[in-house]
């Protein structure tokens, strides 16, 4: 995935403070050309060179797919995360050159749907900004329900309201406004597709409520924002390459493998696409599986790990890499 053609040399053209937690970044090609086309729901992987370490984080593209002269992403500051968002917030200024990846869409609209029903929580709103622009441009039928902590942190609620009027519904936690999901789901025409992006508790709740209401899994789409979590450092042996690596507190196993000079496959870097799946040859300790890819049986068996988000605690871990 690190092939040359997948990497775009970009320059940050603007950094906008959206609110206390969120900043928006605009990217253009260094050579001034158009960026690759994408569809709503796609993400790009941003390479952050921070001294001698490199982090790669996926961010949903939020600009309109109808306009590819720039890409925009929004980054929510995570003070207890691995530092990627803090790097973006504190270090990245207009003029900063960065490598971003070609867009990949693991959360695309099913355009055969009669209606698109979107449920967002917090920063999970970003893919819907692109999707609603895409749909509005072709007269698509959609409705967005967006839960926020409070008015001040309701990123883009105003823009969305302005663009799409009554199709956008905002729920403010601090005003005790709650989405009545069972009623909402019961009233949708047959052929509606449901999309949810937000905290994992919200995704689980929406998926379960939909399943109970008789929504087929084919009609329910979700994107987990599973950013890699920091954790205790651990040692790993890569059997195929015959090297031992150290995974630091604030880096992911995938990043540590890359730092060692390998180019393992990846797509989402968020535990959902399955690309980075790696076989475990032996282990003595416990896995911290943070992905949404492996089955519960696989997780229990300890035979596989998703290095983009998962970690390990224990004596030894040998991987087939």
């Amino acid at each position: 995935m690190k092939s040359g053609s997948n990497r775009i040399e970009a320059v940050v053209t603007d950094v906008v403070t959206v609110n206390d937690l969120v900043k928006r970044f605009h990217f253009q090609r260094v050579d001034g050309g158009l960026l690759p086309t994408f569809s709503g729901g796609a993400h790009t992987v941003v390479e952050m060179r921070d001294g001698d370490r490199t982090r790669l984080n996926p961010y949903s593209l939020m600009s309109s797919p109808l306009d590819t002269h720039d890409y925009t992403i929004s980054v929510r500051r995570d003070d207890v995360g691995r530092g990627g968002s803090l790097f973006m917030h504190n270090q990245v200024k207009p003029g900063h050159r960065m490598i971003i990846s070609n867009p990949v869409n693991l959360f695309s609209l099913d355009l055969r749907a009669r209606k698109h029903l979107m449920i967002a929580g917090g920063i999970g709103i970003t893919p819907f900004l692109a999707q609603t622009s895409q749909l509005a441009g072709r007269g698509g039928n959609f409705e967005l329900h967006y839960s926020v902590r409070n008015e001040a942190l309701a990123s883009y609620a105003d823009v969305l309201k302005q663009r799409h009027g009554k199709r956008v519904n905002i729920y403010r936690d601090d005003h005790e406004e709650r989405l009545d999901l069972p009623t909402l789901l019961a009233g949708q025409p047959l052929g509606t597709h449901l999309y949810v992006c937000g905290p994992s508790g919200m995704i689980d709740w929406v998926r379960k409520t939909a399943a109970d209401a008789g929504w087929p899994v084919e009609n329910v789409h979700y994107e987990h924002f599973a950013a890699p979590q920091p954790g205790k450092p651990f040692e790993v042996t890569l059997a195929v390459s015959g090297i031992g690596i150290h995974v630091g507190e604030n880096e992911s196993l995938l990043e540590a493998i890359e730092t060692a000079g390998l180019n393992p496959p990846y797509l989402c870097r968020g535990g959902v696409c399955g690309q980075c799946e790696t076989n475990v040859i032996s282990h003595d300790g416990k896995f911290l599986h943070n992905d949404h890819w492996l089955s519960d049986e696989d997780k229990a068996a300890g035979c596989k790990i998703m290095p983009c988000v998962s970690r390990f605690e224990g004596k030894s871990l040998v991987l087939e890499r």
Binding site: R112, A113, R114, Q188, L190, A213, G214
Partner: protein, 196 residues
Amino acid sequence: MTIKSRPVYGTLTPQAGTSHLLIADAEGAAAILDLAKKAPAGFFASAEIMYFPGSEDRHHVDALKALAPQKFYEGPSFAAALPRLRQILEEAHMGLRLYVAGTEVLISQVELAANAVGVDHRAIQAEHRGSLARRVQCVHCKGITENVTTQPYTCSHCGLLLLVRDHYSRRIGAFQGVCINAEDPTEIPEKEEIFR
């Protein structure tokens, strides 16, 4: 041999849902009766059955009615019931589950009607029962012939002698028929009844 484009059917299984639409022709009724054995209490109180008995005798009709569905519709043919089905699908809400059992012809046509309102064919429970008769589209004149049981068959539209291929198009809901004797129309292979 498995053919990739050939649809794979399962066994009707009750799904979580607020209402249920079950469609069957001929021996497909038996699949609904089997599903009834597994269905939770109250399942048929929110179910509609559409049944096309064809030449089947009446005992299936009585058995289906005995399930006490909320609505029971019996019709001479799927074609005659299509406007009704379309209306049901147009007005339905999510939570309605679809089940179809019987001939491939029926299954493909129900899938087409459902696709038209944005329902994915994978979200439809389909079980094959009864005749293997195929719905075939002539690749030459595009005419569709229903209930093809022989190989080759004569296109009911343009009269060409066609070989029924195992290629199934979900978009059209039909198998493909290609001329078998294009080189020499006087060569007439014997018809064999193979899709029964």
